[in-house]
C-alpha cells in the first residue's frame, strides 16, 4: 500500500514540473512591461532598469527560469509586482477561502448528486426520473456566471435574503465565533450552490448508472430473494458498492471545480484564488500568476492522488501494482 502511494506521489512530480515550466514560459512571452506598474514614465530609464534588475526581469530568460525554479523549490515565490508584497503572503490570505468554497461545493456536489442518482435509479422510467433528468440536463448546460447572476438578481436583489457578494460582513471580525460562522455560511450559500450544482448533475447521472448496474447483480437479487426489505437491500447492499466508483469522480471533478471557482469567485467577489488569478493576469503580475497556477495544479494533482488512494483502500479488487 505504502509503495503504491509513494509511486503515485513520485509520478506526480514530473507532472507538476512540466506544468510550472509551461506556465513560466507562456507568461514570460507576454507583451507588457510589469515595471510600468511601479513607476511613472518620467523616471529615468536607467532607474527603471535598476528596478527591473531588482525584480529579476533583466536577466536572459533561461537564467530567469533557473533562478525562479530554485526559488520555487525553496518555497520562495518572489514578490508580487502589483501588490507590493510577498506572493506567499497573498496566497496565505486567499487559498483558505478557495479551499473552503471548493470543499463545500464538492460536498454539495456529492450529496446532491448521490441523492439524485438514487432517486432516479430507483424510480427509473417514472415521471420523477424524467423530470430530474431534464432538470439536471438544463443545470448542466448553464453558464455558471449566468446562473450566479440570476441568483443574485432573484435571491439577493429582489428577495434580499442572502448577501450578493463577498465572504463576510464588514464587521465580521468583531462577531462572536458562532455569529461569524453563520455570517460566512450565509455568504457561502450562493457561490457553493452555483459551483456545486452543475457537477452534481453529472455525479447524479454517474451514480444512477452505477446503482443500476449493482442492482442487477446476483448478490442484490439474493438479498431480495431472502425477503429483506427494499430499504435494507438498497441501503445496505447496493448503495455501498455503487458508491465505490463515485470516488474516482472526486479526482475528476477537482479541475472542474477549480476552473469554475475562477468564474464563481469573480461573480460573487469571493476573495479567493480564482479572483486573484484574474486580477494577477490583468496586471501582468508574473510571480502571482505562476504561483496561482502552481497551487491549482498541486491541488488537482493532490486531489487525484487522494481519490486514487481512497479508491484503492475501498475497493480491494485494485492491485497496488
Amino acid at each position: 500500500m505504502l509503495r503504491y502511494i509513494s509511486r503515485r506521489v513520485l509520478s506526480a512530480v514530473p507532472l507538476l514540473f512540466g506544468l510550472l515550466t509551461i506556465t513560466f514560459f507562456i507568461i514570460r512571452l507576454a507583451p507588457g512591461d510589469p515595471v510600468s506598474l511601479y513607476i511613472q514614465s518620467d523616471v529615468d530609464p536607467q532607474y527603471a532598469n535598476n528596478l527591473r534588475e531588482a525584480l529579476g526581469l533583466a536577466d536572459p530568460l533561461p537564467v530567469q527560469y533557473v533562478k525562479w525554479l530554485k526559488g520555487t523549490l525553496t518555497g520562495e515565490l518572489g514578490m508580487s509586482f502589483s501588490k507590493h508584497t510577498e506572493v506567499t503572503r497573498i496566497l496565505a490570505q486567499t487559498i483558505p477561502n478557495t479551499i473552503l468554497l471548493t470543499f463545500f461545493a464538492l460536498c454539495f456536489n456529492f450529496i446532491l448528486g448521490i441523492i439524485i442518482g438514487i432517486i432516479t435509479a430507483l424510480k427509473r422510467g417514472s415521471a420523477v426520473d424524467h423530470a430530474v433528468n431534464i432538470t439536471s440536463l438544463f443545470v448542466y448546460s448553464m453558464p455558471e456566471f449566468w446562473l450566479g447572476l440570476m441568483l443574485i438578481l432573484g435571491v439577493s436583489l429582489h428577495l434580499g435574503i442572502l448577501p450578493a457578494s463577498g465572504m463576510h460582513a464588514p464587521m465580521a471580525k468583531y462577531l462572536s465565533m458562532p455569529e461569524y460562522v453563520w455570517d460566512v455560511f450565509k455568504h457561502m450559500i450562493l457561490p457553493v450552490f452555483v459551483l456545486g450544482v452543475a457537477s452534481a448533475a453529472a455525479t447524479g447521472r454517474y451514480m444512477r448508472g452505477s446503482l443500476l448496474e449493482v442492482i442487477n447483480q446476483d448478490y442484490v437479487r439474493t438479498a431480495r430473494a431472502k425477503g429483506l426489505s427494499e430499504f435494507l437491500v438498497i441501503g445496505k447492499h447496493a448503495l455501498r458498492n455503487a458508491l465505490i466508483p463515485i470516488i474516482t469522480l472526486l479526482g475528476l471533478s477537482l479541475p472542474f471545480l477549480l476552473g469554475g471557482a475562477v468564474i464563481v469567485e469573480t461573480v460573487f467577489s469571493w476573495p479567493g484564488m480564482g479572483k486573484l488569478t484574474i486580477d494577477a493576469i490583468f496586471s501582468r503580475d508574473y510571480p502571482l500568476i505562476i504561483a496561482c497556477t502552481m497551487v491549482s495544479g498541486v491541488m488537482v494533482i493532490l486531489g487525484n492522488l487522494v481519490a486514487d488512494v481512497l479508491y484503492a483502500l475501498v475497493d480491494p479488487r485494485i492491485r497496488y501494482e
Binding site: Q46, I90, Q93, A164, G166, K173
Partner: protein, 561 residues
Amino acid sequence: MSPRYLFVALLCCGLLVSCGNKSGEKDPMGETAVVALSGDADNLNPVVANSSTSADIQGSIYPTMFDVTFNMREGKLEFEPSLVTSWEFANEGKDVILHIRPDVRWEDGILVTPQDIKFSYELYGDPEVASPRRSYLESMIQTNDKFDVDKSIEIIDDTTMIFHFTRQYPLQLFHLNLSPVPRHIYRNADRKTLRANPANEHPIGAGPFKLEEWTRQQQIVLTRNNNSTLPYPAKLERVIFRVISEPTTRLTELKKGEIDIMRPVYPEDVSDIQENNPNIKLQTLPPRSYEYIGWSNIDVKEYQASGKKNILPHPLFGDRRVRQALTYAINRKGILDDQLGPYGELAVTDFSPVFRWAIQHDLIPYPYDPERARQLLRASGWSDSNGDGVLDKGGKDFEFTLYYNVGNKRREYVATMVQENLKQVGIKVTLQSVEPVVLYQNIEAKKYDAFIAGFSVGLAIDPADRWGDINSPFNTVGFQNKRVAELLKLGLHVATERDAGPFWKEIQAILHQEQPCTFMYWVKDIVGVNRRLKHTNVNILGVTDHMWDWMIGDPNSAVTY
C-alpha cells in the same frame, strides 16, 4: 466519506447558530464607519504608493506637513499648520523656513523630528526608490541631475529647518507637503525594494488613525490612534475600507446601510436612491478629472522605429484641421448627456473650471457639427474618392484603431459612440480594448495613434507635465508648440499663483485652437453618504478629507455641521 459527516456537522452548527443569533440582536457597527473602495490600495508607504486610494488612506495614518484645504470660491489651495506650525520665505522666496511641532510622536512613542523629514525627502528624491512624487523635488538644489538632499535641506535645530529652492514659484508649499515616514524604521531599508519592504505592511504613523488590519483585496481597517496629537485622536473608533469591485454589489450594500460612504455613485442610480433611500445623502464633487480622446500629433511608427528621435507629424492627426474636424464630428454633448447628465461638464481645455481665476471664459466649446467636420476634412485633402464610404487621400483610407481600457463601461460607451459618429463623416474606426496596465504603458510610451484616457488634474495648476516638451510625463499625444512652451516658462516663474493667470489663459486659447486631443468632459463624481455618518467633509480633495472628525449619529437628525 468523512467530508459528508463534516458537512452535516457544520450544517448543524450553522443551524444552531442561526437560532442563537436571533436572541442576541445588537448593532456591531456602533462606532465604525465603512468606506467602499472599488480597488485595493497598492501600498501604504507614502513614498512609493501610486494609487489615489492609497493616498486617501495614508493621509490619516502618516503625519501631514500642512493641513491643506481647497478654497472653492477662490479656486486655490490654502495651507494651514499641521506638523509645520509656521513658515516664512526668505532669500527672495528661494528659501522656505519651516517650524516643526516639537511634540508629535510616532505611534511607537518616538518623537517626529526634522531628521525624519529630511530622511523622508531623501527617499522621495532617491532615483533608486523611483518615487512617483520625485518630480516634486525638481526645483530644489540638484547636483549632477540628482536631488541633493544635503544642499536642499538644512536642519537648524530640533524645531526649525530650511528648504532651499532654485527659484521662487507658486507651488513651493504644495511641493513641501510630502508626508514624512519614520527614519528609525526605514533607515536601513534597501532602496531598490522599498516597495516591497515588510514594514510597509505595518505602517508606523502619527496621524489620527493607525492601521489595524489589511487583508488584501478585502479590507483595510483603521482604528483610532489614541496618542495622536496631529491634530487629535480620531473621533470614530474605527474606519473600515472595504474592497468591493462589483458596482451592483457596492450599490446594494450602500442602500442596505452596510456601507456609509461610497464614491462614485453612477448617475443612472441617482433617481432610484433619491426615491427609495432617504437615508442616503448624495453629494457632487467639483470637476477634477476629465476624459479625452488622444490623437497622436506625431507619427508614432516613425517615432518608435527611430528610437524616439524622428518626430514627424502624424499622417492622419498631424493636421490641426483634422483634429478640429474630429472634435466637431464627435457628439460630445450627446455622450455627456447620456452618460453623466448633470454630473458632468463639457471640457473646453484641460484647465479645470474650479480654477476660476485662470479660466479663459471666451472660448466656446466646439459644437457637434458633422457638416463642419466634413468641410474641414475636405479642406485638408480627405475625400471619399472611391465611394466606399471611407475618406481617403493619396490612396490611403482614413482609418485607425482606437484603444481604450477593458472593464470601464463609460470608456467603452465613448468608444462605441465615437466609432459611430466618425463613421458618419467617413472615418473608419476599429475598437480595441486593452487591459489597463498595458494600455497606460503603451500610451505613455506613445505607441498608439488614438486612445481614450482620463486625467486627474492637480490642485495647483501645473500644465507643464502635459503640454511641456515632448518628453513631459503626461504629454501622451506628443503635442509641441513653441508659444505654449514659452508661456509655461513664464507662468511657472511668477511669485504668486494669481500672477500666472494671463499666461494660463493664453495657453487655453492655443489648446482650444490646436485641439491636441479631443477634450470630452469633466466628471463630477457623485458620493453617497449614509446620513448616520456626521461631519463628513466631501470635497475636491476626496471623501476621506478630515476623516478624523467623522462621527456616527442619529440618521434622522438634520445636524451635519
